[in-house]
Chain length 350, copies 2
């Protein structure tokens, strides 16, 4: 029995991953139904319907121009229709529509359906951390894996070598998702750790702010390397505090140190934090100047992470994450980052 | 009974670490004898003896100018005299003088003496890998720890925040060495893994060549992040193949991912590999142009590592280290690096 793939979402990342999926659907005709439906939120683009352009040209003219996607991928504007008979649901919707989308499709699911979430970010609520994959799992009642990593949509679409990490609790589903995503230029490994993989994608943006502070203060590479390293360990400690079964090896995967490396050398969180650390401007001003007023993900996450650490009375175990918040929002100077790290006791590991 | 420290070597790194040690000797007068002898190979500097300048000005005018070292540190030109009554031997000699120095001092050792090596690099011989710390241990018959990490002498001397990792098999000695080295701006942790810590310092330079190839080909950050990540895993696999007791946590320490991060973003191995990958020049030509004919450490290590991998018939388990050799010396094009990585099977970790 073949598997039928549905892609729920068709923005920049959704379209890039559709390109990858198209390759593997053709590569394994014995495994996959040769039609992949992709849910597309209908909108006008230069006087035409985006879905009609896509189904005629096999290109997402608005969100991933210049990339031709295999014609096995078909745009469908009704979300319920898009998942009809689908056994593998690939979620790439914006975070804020996730719950509603789940509620819409729930009554129409195939009994064989399993899901994978490619949505970066986590929800932080009063009591702790809510994984987006758990929102899918709990609302649909099906096994849900995640895929994260150091991979940027446009580069993946162009076939630039990159990697991804699949976090899954079910070996059979994980192996199937490796078939869906792994290509010679998009290497996927999998690990039995959903929470660890997913947490990496959110907390890395807070560490990227710390890296940007270092750049703004013109600190040398060794200091920045120390900040990255301590940041990665705090990411691990954070994941392990809130979830059981988080594995150390996860942080060696693409979702861990590789994604952190890129986020701390490129990326807008680093860039805005660098401008902030040069002094004289609040983050709102920096956002207005460098991002046309869009909000950074890192500062929002830093606030939410701090609130939870404070509530759990564990700020002292997370000096870097705590210092990023205090510098960003409580008027501490950027150099306080290093004071906070300097005051840690030497750690030993036997 | 107090401990007496001897610093064997007084180049750039030796002088920087003398600055750190001076701070801690004064900080813990109950622990440390208030005279630290530093062996200085005598040479003339601007018509004066370097050791006389040092003992008058407390500055190593030739190798670390501009930095004043605490006057508890005294330069001694006779190596045997320098270790008299010393219970903690800090080795920062050049690699090539190590064995001879050990033979000279062996008959004069204090019965309480233990050593720590700050010398980066390893010896690769016919049968495998020889740790420099084992050369000290075997020649002197005393417990020998190592200290490595993302730390550059001049930055450490100036008190820029950085970190170091102490690898030691003896908890008491490790804790004593943490007292010797750890300061608020030179944070030392320790781990029970001498070989893992020491191997990191050598193999990182081969990974830095791969990172430089990426830069020379103008590949995006995500590709370079993948190369770093795979490189770190091959460093771990290499250490674990040749030594028992190598720990995964070692590669999260400063000697592991932090030092790799700096070496792959700055550093001359990366820089020369970038120039090489742009094409048209051999590594000898690049070295002549960019390093005044000095030899790169990374290319030499790449050759020796390849020879051992080939002899042990395990090149297929180290596609990145192998590809770096083949690109550097066998005429394969730089893009072959990615072909070698693309052909790996997806890995799973349960």
């Amino acid at each position: 029995m073949t598997e039928k793939i549905a892609i729920i979402g068709s923005g920049n990342w959704g379209s890039a991953i559709a390109k990858v999926i198209g390759v593997n659907v053709r590569r394994y005709p014995e495994l996959f139904d040769q039609e992949v439906r992709m849910w597309m939120f209908e909108e006008d683009y230069k006087g035409q319907k985006l879905s009609q352009i896509f189904n005629k040209t096999h290109e997402n003219a608005k969100y991933l121009p210049g990339i031709t996607i295999d014609d096995c991928v078909v745009a469908v504007t009704d979300v319920v229709e898009s998942i009809k008979d689908a056994t593998l649901l690939v979620f790439v919707t914006p975070h804020q529509f996730l719950k509603k989308t789940c509620q819409q499709i729930k009554p129409h699911l195939s009994p064989r359906a399993r899901a994978i979430s490619l949505i970066k970010g986590v929800d932080l609520n009063e009591d702790g951390v809510v994984l987006l994959s758990d929102i899918i799992k709990d609302n649909l009642g099906i096994d849900t894996s995640v895929l994260m990593g150091a991979n940027i949509a446009n580069e993946v679409a162009k076939g630039m070598f990159s990697e991804a990490t699949i976090g899954s609790k079910d070996a059979k589903n994980a192996e199937m998702f490796v078939k869906v995503f792994d290509t010679p230029t998009f290497k996927c490994s999998w690990i039995d750790d959903v929470a660890g993989v997913e947490i990496c994608g959110a907390i890395k943006n807070v560490v990227a702010l710390a890296a940007g502070f270092c750049d703004g203060m013109k600190l040398p590479g060794n200091t920045k390397a120390a900040v990255l390293r301590i940041g990665l360990l705090e990411m691990r400690a954070f994941a392990q505090y809130f979830f059981s079964g988080v594995k150390t090896d996860t942080f060696f995967e693409s979702c861990g140190l590789a994604d952190l490396f890129v986020t701390c050398t490129e990326g807008r969180n680093r860039k805005c934090a660098e401008a902030f650390a040069r002094g004289g401007k609040s983050f709102s001003q920096v956002e207005a100047e460098l991002l046309n007023g869009q909000k950074l993900q890192g500062t929002g996450t830093a606030e939410e992470v701090y609130r939870i650490l404070k509530k759990k009375k564990i700020t002292q175990d997370f000096p870097l994450l705590t210092a990023v918040y205090e510098i960003s929002f409580e008027g501490k100077p950027p150099r306080y980052l290093l004071e906070a790290l300097a005051n840690q006791k030497p750690k030993s590991k036997l």
